[in-house]
Subunit: 164 residues, 2 copies
DNA sequence: ACCATATGGAACTAAACTAGTCCTACTTAG
DNA sequence: CTAAGTAGGACTAGTTTAGTTCCATATGGT
């Protein structure tokens, strides 16, 4: 299935809302109302996004949240990492890889390569684009330029750019 | 996290084993023994892979499994589809997309684009490569050629190939 | 100083999904 | 006709995800 969790999806919606008005300070309740998500959930997500440094918060009576940096500097990969931890397609893609069949299994390595390629792609996508806010098709945008990921040797990825 | 299920991982191991000896007919028990996976699990997976047309089976006393077609014609995308159903990052990426916040949510559309891009990449990776059987780095292989996925308009993907 | 209004953090519950096993029916070679 | 195999489904246990609630902490206004 290769899916992202619902919460990550919600988080994107929240971040997109914040990105639409970067100057404005939102309370959790406001965001919940405007996105039609459940208030406790929104609150929980904002806390986590804050912990991961994606949003800045002010406490107290006039408190609230806003993006910690411009939407162009927040990537899809960062959002996924913030909520679900680092992308890992298979178990043995993690640090301590002992799945018992290691010896006979040459497959893990391959999935890791795929994994890595996907991750690189996600790093090229900014919140601005994710939120549909990027100002029209733009030749300088990663989304519109085309992303080239070399899947061969793990170390030898390269982001090819269109000749313009 | 963006992970694939353990079962899909196992299935890849199984398919890789079959791919290593394409002529040989394996029984489920043999595969279990040689891959060190639990026999009932292997059996279950092979059935499912058969249902999805990735392996051919013969019943009866001298029965067993083998790949239904050359390993080069089986893609990572097909393996994922066979076990987890079609890749869908978010819920609304599916056919009937009614998540309740549709109106305010411009995000779903973006995830679908990412989704689509990943899917295209996975279609370029063959079982042969996944199994680590592809004969040395090969300029004609999708893995070594580099995969370029244009994420912009949904309809306008294009697989750029290295100039050689 | 006090209070209303926020966020911060953790613990808890319920629901969904995954993994794994088992049992029965069907098929074929000897 | 029997042994050896696949086909399919039902079932159970475990883990993960989603969602809620409670209490502590911080801040601004009266």
């Amino acid at each position: 299935m290769l899916r992202i969790s619902k919460l990550t999806d919600y988080a994107t919606v929240i971040l997109a809302r914040l990105a639409a008005e970067p100057e404005r300070r939102f309370t959790a309740a406001q965001i919940a109302a405007e996105t039609h998500l459940a208030a406790p959930t929104v609150s929980k997500l904002l806390k986590q996004l804050h912990r991961q440094g994606l949003v800045a918060s002010t406490r107290g009576s006039a408190g609230g949240y806003l993006l910690s940096r411009p939407a162009t500097d927040i990537t899809a990969a960062q959002i996924l990492d913030a909520l679900d931890g680092p992308v890992a397609l298979t178990e043995c893609a993690g640090a301590a890889s002992h799945c018992g069949i290691e010896r006979t299994c040459r497959v893990g390595h391959s999935w890791q390569r795929v994994n890595f390629a996907i991750r690189c792609s996600l790093q090229e996508i900014s919140l601005l684009e994710l939120a549909g806010l990027s100002t029209a098709p733009n030749r300088n945008s990663a989304l519109d330029r085309g992303i080239s990921v070399v899947l061969s040797g793990i170390g030898t990825r390269s982001f090819k750019r269109e000749p313009a």
